[in-house]
Subunit: 203 residues, 4 copies
DNA sequence: AATGAATGAGAGTTCATTCAT
DNA sequence: CATGAATGAACTCTCATTCAT
């Protein structure tokens, strides 16, 4: 609860990282205290419970995810297929940092049944689908675009499952490649961009 | 572990259910003792640690999953599209019991980074893919069938994520329907099978 | 402690209520902050410690008790038996509000052994006895009056114990009735004062 | 939870003493662990919660109180006035050990409003009254005996309040003396039993 | 004077695990 | 083989108190 305003987001970011790496239940308040430099009791000055803290972390993570990934959907200076690829590559980058996977799916599977954070999670996935849809309307009818974006998100989350137990990023890479290809475009190879004719995307 | 040999599988089944519902970390040895009727100390007679116990549970669950779901791939008396649907419907049934989702994906996202059970999980997903592939070879080339089966599993796991935070089984149902449809067949409506011309699948 | 001087007594009153309801140890500074509208740190501006705060609350409560209950002993326009009854009924009223019992006895039993507030408590009980004595001198010799007033206070405090674990106000009512009766007077029935020949006491 | 049966009562006795000295809320599980030689976690092997532990302590204390104090009511070899005095002196002895007062009244005032232990407490006070009544039937009509025993208990509890904030045992002694005297007998002086003509009671 | 922030200690409780019987 | 008992560590959360602003 950092004195300066800029520190609040930094605080939430650090908590986010811990929750992302260890999961909700396996993360202790002690872990969060250590990660943020506060004392355990200090955390309770700003958040009533661990769950409330997670609530804010989730809101923060949603905002950041929308800024970093979903906002790309509106970069109209890029052709839609490049926008799509950029989004997917940014998703991928978030997932492969420390092999932590998708934060939202991690929390979804861990707490979905208890419903601790379902409202937040559903809102995020809804926004995700909406933005993805917007890009896909360049290739499909509005209705079909929505269906396809949902399907893409599902496929992505499944790919993350495979990635997480194997550490093999090819599951994610292959997902991106086939997704772009299915639009009728040839995606840029990720690892060897030597033969690219078009400018590389800075993801 | 119980007196009679036949009870060992019953023991593992009960543990499986608990782990499935609550997850690995959130399940305590006390929970398992209560679910199985043993004393907490008794568990350590048969399993060195909680992790070792989970190891066996995972092996048991894999076996059961192969028997109940994957073995359908070899029911050659059924046409392949019916085999596929039957498999998908059985997956779905397992996931929607108590809204618990896919046991293997639950554990994968929770422990994949630590790698506690990755070998077992990879083996299971490999077997899953192999069997799905076998069915899909009726529609695709062997190579394409393998790719497609992996993609299907991913899409399924993603659908489960959506299902788990919403409780809406339509995510799973829609996945099945579009999967079958993409093969060029019309799947059987789930709820009202009255007008079916072909024999109903007992899932 | 608030801005205006008149609010100090209001502040102490609110603290008194909390201490009365929950007891000394079970009341937290947080509780007091909430009840008074100050911040927790603000409390320490006016009181060095929780104990010091309680000290003042006790002094305030003593004063109020003397004003509301003990001062009745000097209402010489009332015959002594009416004065006595009025005092007893006011004691009773304080005890039955929220079933909280006698503030002073509550604190006495909770902290008497540690002696945190014994001086204040003894002073209050002494004043209580003195004023009761004064009324009883109308019926007894000075010496006997003092003994009897002490005995009456004891009986009252015991009646409160019975009341507190049962919620049955009859323990207190019966105490009042038999006390007045022992003076040779018939006390006013509490519930049905319809047939009263003498003016009802407004307690 | 002592291996041997005799140790269980010893365990409860030690807990009783701590609760008696410090009160319910001010006694921590750590205090009880220290007093009994167990680890804090070990306490939870035998009692689900602190409240449940107190419940058993209260039951134990009730039993012991009945054995040590109330059972005297049936010592028919003693004349009733001696039985009464013996009971009162034993009450007094329990209360003056470490100036801790009456265990049941302590807990009653501390927790009566929340009702945590009211059932147990009411049962104990009821038994107390019953046994006291039995002795007093030697002096009063059954109905009057019951009233008088309740009144005596109240007076006693009030005397304990006075004793606890002053440390002056004379409040208790005076209560005993005047109680016996009111029966028409001269009680034995407690402190200087030199001039006794009748055999001293071994309390 | 007042507060938001912070803290070390400790609350009750649960954890996976061990061991004597 | 089984269990009741035990334990050290860790859990979430609250305590009375302090201090810079």
């Amino acid at each position: 609860m950092p004195v300066k305003k800029i520190e609040k987001s930094d605080f939430l970011l650090r908590c986010w990282e811990v929750f992302h790496l260890k999961g909700y239940h396996a993360t202790s308040m002690q872990d969060l205290a250590q990660a943020t430099g506060l004392q355990k009791a200090g955390l309770y000055h700003h958040f009533a419970t661990k769950q409330a803290l997670m609530q804010e972390v989730l809101a923060y993570a949603s905002t950041q995810f929308q800024r970093y990934v979903l906002s790309v959907a509106h970069e109209t200076d890029l052709p839609p297929e490049q926008r799509l690829e950029k989004m997917l590559r940014r998703q991928r980058r978030l997932a492969t940092l420390h092999r932590r996977g998708c934060f939202f799916a991690n929390i979804a599977l861990e707490t979905g049944r208890d419903g601790l954070f379902n409202a937040e999670l559903q809102a995020l996935f809804q926004a995700w689908k909406t933005n993805l849809s917007q890009v896909l309307t360049a290739f499909f009818s509005p209705e079909k675009a929505e269906q396809e974006s949902e399907r893409l998100m599902m496929e992505y989350e499944g790919a993350v499952v495979f990635y997480k137990i194997s550490g093999d990023e090819n599951y994610l890479e292959a997902f991106i490649v086939r997704t772009i290809r299915n639009l009728g475009y040839t995606p840029f190879p990720k690892i060897r961009p030597s033969s690219l004719h078009r400018p590389t995307l800075s993801v």
